[in-house]
């Protein structure tokens, strides 16, 4: 009896592995590419890539790109683009430097003012895009010039620094170790074991709920493989980092932000509305969604994240230079597109953009270790971007 009753409920969940893999090829493909790229560079650099010191550097170097990619993903999903983020990084860095170095502000009010300034810049640009329907490409191209110019003006063409030590910690600091073991950062390892365990716990809960509602889901084998993989990777990274200085502060900020944005895009009405707006603005509007306000806020959000990235970058260099952030926008946008976002809007995922950013980051880092010149690095990165998007288009055509 119970077997009979269960049968129809089982039906939808029994989607074959092949079918599931095919429809989620992109997601797995991204992850596998990243792992393959890491393995490749680990091999050709004779293990330098995953040395604790280098791994820490890798995180520090890419944190601001990842953080901006979160905002850029929303902008791109909404059907826009933001070319000004690199200049905002430079401008906010300059602003913070002036406040802290020349006016001797404490770093907390400086950070608050900087983030508000970022929001204001995003609002100023979003206003023209959302309410005046000026193409975002043009508005943010203008912003790119304006804020690059303003950072030059603020700094009077000079580098300004150094910063107070507390501010530098934003980028170069590590979380404290509560266990007090010497030579090994136990807190880091504990966090890196707990976090994946909690995440896996959540997904098991979700699986059970989906099972109860008889909703199709990832085949069990894949789920187990993925969970084991996630646990292994995070635990391994945690182990590596604990043998050095532990988790960088900025990694914590980044991880929290990734979690928040993944949640917002997947599980909230706001996230859903942004996808609808990018997928079909007219239909979204006729469904009662305030598309203009939504576009506006994606830019405000982008401005805040770019400001945060600006602070982190300045803290990392311990100086604000007029050149800070030049061409960051290209890395950020490339990360989103490599991560599967569609240039026409409506499609893209936070995890994709993060993986995209790390693919770029690992390649940058690995090629630098190998001593490949910046010239060829750019060529290779360009080709990878093109290949990733070609793969998308090919995939879509086949589906």
């Amino acid at each position: 009896m119970s077997a009979e009753l269960n049968l129809p409920a089982q039906q939808p969940r029994q989607a074959s592995m092949a079918k599931f893999l095919k429809s989620h090829m992109r997601d797995y493909g991204m992850l596998i590419s990243l792992l393959a790229i890491v393995a490749f560079f680990q091999y050709v650099t004779d293990g330098t890539l995953l040395q604790p010191l280098n791994l820490t550097n890798l995180v520090l170097q890419n944190s601001y790109i990842v953080i901006m990619a979160l905002g850029m993903l929303l902008v791109i999903v909404a059907g826009h683009i933001d070319l000004s983020v690199g200049s905002i990084v430079g401008f906010i860095g300059a602003l913070a430097a002036i406040l802290m170095v020349q006016f001797h502000w404490h770093f907390i009010p400086t950070a608050i003012v900087s983030l508000i300034a970022g929001a204001a810049i995003g609002a100023a640009q979003g206003y023209w895009v959302a309410y005046f329907r000026i193409p975002s490409f043009i508005v943010t191209l203008a912003g790119m010039l304006v804020f690059r110019g303003l950072s030059l003006a603020l700094l009077a063409g000079q580098s300004v620094g150094p910063f107070p030590v507390e501010f530098q910690r934003l980028s170069s600091g590590f979380i404290p170790d509560f266990f007090g073991t010497t030579g090994f950062h136990t807190t880091t390892l504990v966090l890196c074991l707990l976090t994946p365990a909690i995440l896996i716990g959540f997904s098991i809960a979700a699986r059970i709920r989906r099972h109860r509602f008889a909703i199709e889901q990832e085949p069990l084998v894949l789920f187990l493989l993925k969970s084991a993989g996630l646990f292994a990777v995070v635990a391994y990274v945690g182990w590596l980092l604990s043998t050095y200085k532990g988790l960088p502060n900025v990694l914590i900020i980044m991880a929290l932000l990734i979690g928040v944005y993944a949640f917002v895009t997947r599980d909230t009405t706001i996230g859903r509305r942004i996808y609808a707006l990018g997928g079909n603005e007219k239909a979204a509007k006729l469904s009662g969604i305030d598309t203009r306000r939504l576009s506006f806020y994606t830019f405000v959000n982008m401005g805040v994240l770019a400001a945060l990235a600006g602070l982190i970058f300045a803290a990392r260099l311990n100086t604000a230079t007029p050149k800070a952030g030049v061409s960051f926008e290209l890395d950020v946008i490339a990360a989103c597109f490599i991560g599967g976002a569609s240039a026409s809007g409506g499609v893209g995922r936070v995890t994709g953009a993060v993986i995209g950013a790390f693919i770029m980051g690992v390649m940058n880092n690995g090629m630098s270790i190998l001593g490949i010149g910046i010239d060829w690095q750019q060529v290779i990165k360009g080709l990878v971007l093109l290949a990733a998007v070609c793969f998308d288009v090919y995939n879509k055509g086949k589906a």
């Binding site: 599980d267 859903r272 996808y275 997928g279 239909a283 979204a284 006729l286 469904s287 009662g288």
Partner: protein, 526 residues
């Protein structure tokens, strides 16, 4: 008289629909042949077969042009023989000059270099032939629709036209422009150019046509010779609409209650052409449990009215009042209109109705996300339940609710749009051409849904160009023409003939009024 064109036994099927069924059309050398029929009767499809838009092999039947059998692979082939079609939506590039448009794709060039002097001279000559005195340098965007139409015809002349096909050429023209155009057709006739004229305006047809072929439901009804005996409008209307209504509409005992929704003095202007009123003084009401139909030809302003009402999503300078249950409601934004119980399901489901890249589930909940969310966080399982529920109730045919809507058939897409609005739980649902382009079975199911809605005490406004549908589904019918409501009748007393008469007589009245104004203007000038 010899035939210039013979189309015999043309049959064209689209997936699930037979658009043309054994249609015959014969056009004589040097005549003006009118082609008429209701929306969806197959006129445009037939002309697309003729001009090669649907290439040889995608249809059955034979086409002979000047006695020779022809097999067009594309428009270029038919144009080479001098068959030129001018579509209702003009194919001109607005920001290019008249000359540039005239020779687009056919530039007056030697070895890739355009000879502008020769082109301009030839353009001036062509413009003279159609009676235009504007400079060939003028940009298309700077001349009116009437003149644009003439430029299209001049373009046809430049291609050595033998058979000119005009698809509702006067639909957007005013009286004097229409007259000029018809006079031009008569002049061409003297020069031996044959024309096929597709038109809804029977008075125009009476003025210029030599013969009339009537299409209905994809078949040829008859061909009438206007010279044998003067043809009355009644005669043509009867030919256009004479079909049975047997059991294509689910039965419903209509039991309208008190007035649920009312619109008073609704006006709206064209969004771009400032001051051009497209919705004029609409007064309308809907009772509880009532289906109210709005009949009218394409371009009558029905969609414009509905969209201007639904949160001002069309037009500007919108004036008027809306009432729900006797209380005035605010419909100034889409959100407010929805919160006040209105919903509008668009006629253009691909562009305005669905997020095609998204799956059924996301589309169904789009207009009422809060219905599956708590404090802004979506409850995914609840959302899937809702989608599955509508899938069952509306019999949406799909593999599961995670299927992208772009892969659904038209009828199923329409059901997703309906699901979206049903989930928003409106008091009054405006359905704009809900059955356009979908098959008979799906139509029946959609009528059933409409019946369920009114049985729950809601009101439905049904905009449709298919008169039988209005007669079969609505309780009461408003007739709209040129932006105004021109008649109102209970469906029981209505007939297709009555509705067509209401449209035609209002059109001729409006035409007469315009003529009077024009005459007065001329007099005052003299």
């Amino acid at each position: 008289m010899d035939s210039i064109l013979e189309m015999r036994g043309i049959t064209k099927t689209f997936p699930g629909v037979k658009a043309l069924d054994n249609v015959n059309l014969s056009v004589r050398e040097g005549e003006i042949h009118a082609l008429i029929g209701e929306n969806g009767a197959g006129k445009s499809t037939l002309m697309k077969v003729l001009s090669g838009v649907y290439p040889h092999g995608t249809y059955e039947g034979e086409i002979r042009f000047r006695g020779q059998p022809v097999a067009f692979r594309g428009i270029a082939d038919s144009e080479k023989l001098g068959i030129i079609i001018i579509h209702q939506e003009l194919a001109l590039v607005p920001l290019l000059s008249i000359t540039e448009n005239l020779f687009l794709g056919n530039e007056q060039a030697k070895r890739g270099r355009i000879d502008w002097v020769a082109a301009t001279a030839r353009a001036r000559e062509l413009l003279r032939m159609v009676g235009l005195t504007d400079s060939p340098e003028t940009l298309i965007t700077d001349i009116g629709v009437g003149k644009q139409q003439l430029v299209e015809i001049a373009k046809a002349l430049s291609k050595q036209v033998k058979l000119l096909i005009l698809d509702e050429p006067t639909a957007s023209l005013n009286e004097s422009d229409s007259d000029a155009l018809l006079a031009l057709l008569l002049r061409f006739k003297e020069q031996g150019i044959s024309s096929i004229l597709i038109s809804h305006k029977l008075n125009e047809i009476a003025k210029v046509a030599d013969r009339v072929t009537i299409l209905r439901d994809g078949t040829t009804v008859e061909t009438l010779d206007c010279h044998d005996a003067p043809i009355s409008q009644d005669r043509i209307i009867k030919g256009m609409v004479g079909r049975d209504l047997a059991d294509r509409y689910p039965r419903r005992t209509s039991n309208p209650g008190d007035i649920l929704f009312e619109v008073k003095g609704w006006n709206a202007d064209h969004p771009i052409h400032t001051g051009r009123r497209v919705v004029k003084d609409i007064d309308l009401h809907v009772r509880r449990g009532e289906v109210v139909g709005i009949a009218g030809l394409m371009g009558a302003g029905r969609t414009e009215f509905a969209m201007s009402l639904f949160g001002r999503s069309y037009g500007r300078n919108i004036r008027g009042k809306a009432f729900l249950g006797g209380r005035e409601i605010d419909v100034s934004t889409i959100r407010r209109a929805m919160d006040n119980g209105l919903a509008y399901a668009t006629e253009d489901r691909k562009h305005y109705g669905l997020v095609l890249d998204n799956d059924i589930r996301h589309n169904v909940t789009l207009a009422n996300l809060d219905g599956v969310a708590k404090r802004g966080v979506i409850h995914h399982e609840r959302e899937i339940e809702v989608a599955n529920d509508f899938r069952r109730r509306l019999r949406i045919r799909c593999s599961d609710v995670f299927q992208q809507t772009v892969n659904l058939s038209g009828g199923n897409q329409q059901k997703v749009v309906l699901s979206k609005w049903l989930f928003a739980d409106p008091q009054v649902l405006i359905l704009d051409e809900p059955t356009r382009g979908i098959d008979v079975g799906a139509k029946y199911e959609i009528y059933t849904i409409v019946n369920q809605l009114v049985a729950e005490g809601r009101g439905v406004i049904l905009i449709s160009s298919e008169l039988p549908e209005l007669l079969g589904v609505a309780d009461r019918i408003y007739v709209m023409n040129e932006g105004a409501l021109v008649a109102e009748m209970p469906a029981a007393e209505a007939s297709q003939e009555k509705i067509m008469h209401a449209i035609m007589s209002s059109a001729s009245k409006a035409t007469a009024a315009r003529a009077a104004v024009a005459a007065a203007a001329r007099e005052s000038l003299q």
